[in-house]
Symmetry: C2
DNA sequence: TTGTACGCGTTATCAA
DNA sequence: TTGATAACGCGTACAA
């Protein structure tokens, strides 16, 4: 690792000159010395020491991507195609802008914040925050923050959120199910917060608009921890005959439940209709192919990174960016109007 | 962001003392001042500035995870459950050891190396390297390197590789297919290098040991780029009737091809048997459930990180660690002995 | 156009 | 047991 000082010594000039060439301050250095330095730099393959640079400039060129994982869902988190595609979108955008990405997964907000401040991270992208998390973060951390999929009215004062029209998506899908003659529709999820709540609300609203009554027993809870999964799948499958359709909060769960159903000789969509939400490869590769609500996850990641980058360059960004959804009708819903 | 200097000033002592307390050099400081400092640290919520620390100690506490993506496969890379689970395993291990992970995806080795040296990364985990890549890296970079799934005899002199008994796994699976009466077995992959080559060799060896002749037309090539995928799927499906079984180089491809087959009215396993390699969620959730070769990807990531950590603490590690595979017999192979 | 000198926050050496 | 002080590599204000 060669340093500027060393280069200056070997070239018989000052560090300032070398530094100026490196930063392309063309006006400040004669074309002659500039050539000389540039050639030398290439020859010795100079790379700046970022730690020193960061220290001198009080910045880091690091953007933190913090995923808050519910302790019981770490495995689940990182396996979810949603998350990997999101990471991909963020990473690509950040890299192309000359920044670096530090990935940090944790269930502890405090830990995330400590991480962020030791590294003096320039900006932060947060995923998986609930309610007050975002606020607690923005109290401590005074630099740009972009959240993904966070539902927190308070939070919106402090950061930009990249969200999705979850409620509308769920509403559209539920309406579609109803249009196909379904009336006994369950909603399957593992919790009722944030995104899941928004989708649940969309579903409920569609029921209401169609004069279908929602009973609390229409909510099917899946328990994603590996130890509990089978048991909860069993319960859900046992109750499946009470419904003609199940609206799942994610493609992952939709495909999971379809596999469980098929194992028990229940056919989709003949015996029961299943729909998902996300439109990822899981549903695309399943047969019958999953009818689902599409969202563009990569765009979500890219938008989050872009928005942060904008803020970093001093531009204002809106408090809320909502990406659209649309229905993708495939083969897991049966039309039961006629029967 | 409070600094040591500031703390020392407010407490009326030297930075050395504060620093000593922070680093728990208990012998060097009286219990009294120690208490005082510790309380103050907690009160002001001190976090060290890593850039400064790194500069002073010439280390970084960063471990780089560099994924070399074939330019045509970026999308594919990040969506592959294999990769996300690997990332998860590495991240978790690194974090628990007090290190930080920097993720960098690129198709350009030079770019990766520049990244690594500007950040003065303490250690490097490489995935997706081919042949000479690893060597080129280890020429430049003189710190611990661990590769994952790299086949490079030369490379093994320079770094530890965390691999898999790919050949054996493929051999076992092919033998199993043969034991079920299959003789016309295709091998499907998108290239014939590295891991894919090893699996291909295992497959060929099993054929040979069973006196089945391998023809070059038994190799089916899938083209993973989104633009080409459908066309290549079409070609493969058209040729499917030439075989009684297809051994796919990954679960991803196995599930992809099964979906394409089903779309064309070809039933698995009745009309043709399909097997995969990896044993990830894609195959587990598919119905019929995929018969495949199991490998423990999370362990691979964890082992890679652990090995690197060992090297970082000065321990020697073997040149090659080979993780085992085993067959997972599920429902995509038909026994055709009787017929 | 080029050079000197200092500061960034931390650790480490050595003296008190 | 504590405290000055010099590194670490870079950027930059200011002087030459």
């Amino acid at each position: 690792m060669i340093t500027i000082k060393e280069i200056a010594k070997q070239l018989n000039m000052s560090t300032t000159t070398v530094s100026n060439v490196i930063h392309g301050k063309a006006g400040e250095v004669s074309p002659d010395t500039r050539k000389k330095v540039e050639e030398f730099l290439k020859k010795v393959d100079y790379v700046p020491n970022i730690s020193a640079r960061n220290l001198a400039q009080n910045q880091s060129k690091i953007i933190g991507l913090a995923l808050k994982a519910r302790a019981d869902k770490y495995e689940n988190l990182i396996m979810d195609p949603f998350v990997s595609v999101l990471i991909g979108g963020v990473e690509e955008t950040i890299r192309n802008a000359g920044y670096f990405m530090m990935l940090y997964i944790s269930s502890d907000i405090g830990e995330i914040m400590r991480h962020v401040s030791t590294w003096n991270v320039d900006g932060l992208i947060l995923f998986g925050m609930l309610d007050d998390d975002g606020i607690r973060v923005s109290e401590k951390y005074k630099k740009p923050i972009v959240c993904i999929d966070t539902y927190s009215i308070e939070g919106l004062k402090h950061f930009t959120n990249i969200g999705l029209d979850d409620e509308q998506g769920a509403y559209d899908m539920t309406s579609y199910l109803i249009s196909q003659g379904h009336k006994k529709i369950a909603f399957l999820s593992d919790n009722t917060k944030g995104v899941d709540l928004a989708r649940l609300n969309g579903y409920k609203k569609a029921l209401k608009d169609n004069r279908i009554k929602f009973k609390s027993s229409d909510f099917l809870q899946i328990r994603p921890r590996t130890e509990d999964l089978d048991e909860s799948l069993e319960e859900i499958c046992n109750r499946a005959r009470e419904f003609t359709a199940i609206m799942c909060v994610s493609d992952l769960y939709a495909v999971t439940i379809m596999a469980a159903l098929e194992d028990r000789g229940v056919n989709v969509p003949e015996d029961i209709s299943i729909v998902g939400f996300d439109d990822n490869m899981l549903g695309q590769l399943h047969r019958p192919a999953l009818t689902t609500v599409h969202q563009d996850v990569k765009t979500k990641g890219v938008t989050a990174a872009d928005t942060l980058l904008k803020q970093l360059s001093g531009k204002k960004t809106p408090n809320q960016i909502k990406l659209p959804t649309h229905l993708v009708i495939r083969d897991t819903v049966k039309d039961i109007k006629k029967s």
